[in-house]
């Protein structure tokens, strides 16, 4: 599948970076560095090494910006640089983390507990109905806090995929390219993550509505 090209906003940002515009650089740094640190941390042993990898990646971005051809979105390109650096550092530290550790051992687990269904695979009893919970409960700060905690508790690659997709609004192609995932892996990781976060929200809503 073709990766999305740099957007008009990307192209403007690229021009500003090439013109040595400090504000443009810092805007990008503020926006991307928190996720970059977490992504780097998946491949290296310590926060300190992850920070070094992030700094090296930003230097790589500055040094490469004149040659960037815009064949991917800017943030995808930046993450590719970062992931390469972090993986190399991880290998140098002899810290090769198996994909299953990052992705989670539960990727094949069903979305829903099997005992909710009869022999035909249809609901044997309908699931808990959120519509009975007052709207302000569902969308309140407490629910947001529950979602944040549920994401933080996910295996690292699931957490990062759902953050990039649903918290930051990246496209599936961008995430797949940025994290070097297959299309299927991206979707399975996202679905697992969403299922668990949805489940955490439901547990929370049940507890406040009884």
């Amino acid at each position: 599948m073709q990766a999305p090209l740099a957007s008009a906003a990307d192209l403007r940002l690229i021009e500003r970076l090439r013109a040595r515009d400090e504000a443009a650089f810092m805007e990008l740094v503020e926006r991307l560095t928190p996720s970059m640190r977490r992504v780097a941390r998946m491949f290296v042993a310590t926060d300190a090494v992850a920070d070094e990898a992030v700094q090296e990646a930003w230097l790589g971005v500055l040094q490469g910006i004149d040659r960037f051809e815009g064949r991917s979105s800017l943030r995808t390109w930046i993450f590719r640089i970062l992931v390469n650096i972090a993986k190399n550092r991880g290998q140098r530290e002899a810290r090769s983390v198996p994909f299953t550790t990052l992705a989670g051992e539960d990727l094949d687990a069903p979305t829903w507990e099997p005992d909710a269904f009869g022999a035909s695979g249809h609901w044997s009893s309908l699931p808990f109905d959120w519509r009975g919970v007052p709207e302000e409960r569902v969308t309140g700060n407490e629910t947001l806090r529950v979602i944040g905690l549920a994401i933080a508790a996910l295996p690292p690659m699931q957490a990062e995929v759902i953050r990039l997709r649903d918290v930051l609004g990246w496209s599936s192609e961008e995430v797949r390219n940025a994290l070097d995932l297959t299309d299927t892996n991206q979707r399975v990781l996202l679905h697992r993550a969403r299922a668990k976060v949805r489940d955490a929200v439901e547990t929370h809503l049940r507890s406040v509505s009884t």
Partner: protein, 80 residues
């Protein structure tokens, strides 16, 4: 795939459906199922709600030290 899908099968397809990443025939099966199944339509809405709420979370902020290190790196590069 048979002409109908079960609730159990549908639940595995929700993210693919929301991403518009399902092949057309599978998408039609999902839509046909949703039209006749309150439980699954409800869960789909719950996924949508969860995704929308996730979009309201805010990212971590950089520490002043991290910001300064990157700013220094930029100034070195820009001045070179």
């Amino acid at each position: 795939m048979s002409a109908e899908i079960s609730c159990k099968q549908l639940l595995e397809l929700i993210s693919g459906y929301l991403d518009d990443a399902l092949p057309g025939d599978v998408r039609s099966l999902v839509e046909a199922h949703l039209a006749g199944c309150d439980g699954c339509a409800m869960v789909l809405d719950e996924f949508r709600t969860t995704i929308a709420l996730s979009g309201q979370l805010t990212e971590d902020e950089l520490t002043p030290a991290q910001r300064e290190t990157l700013l220094d790196a930029f100034r070195d590069w820009a001045g070179s």
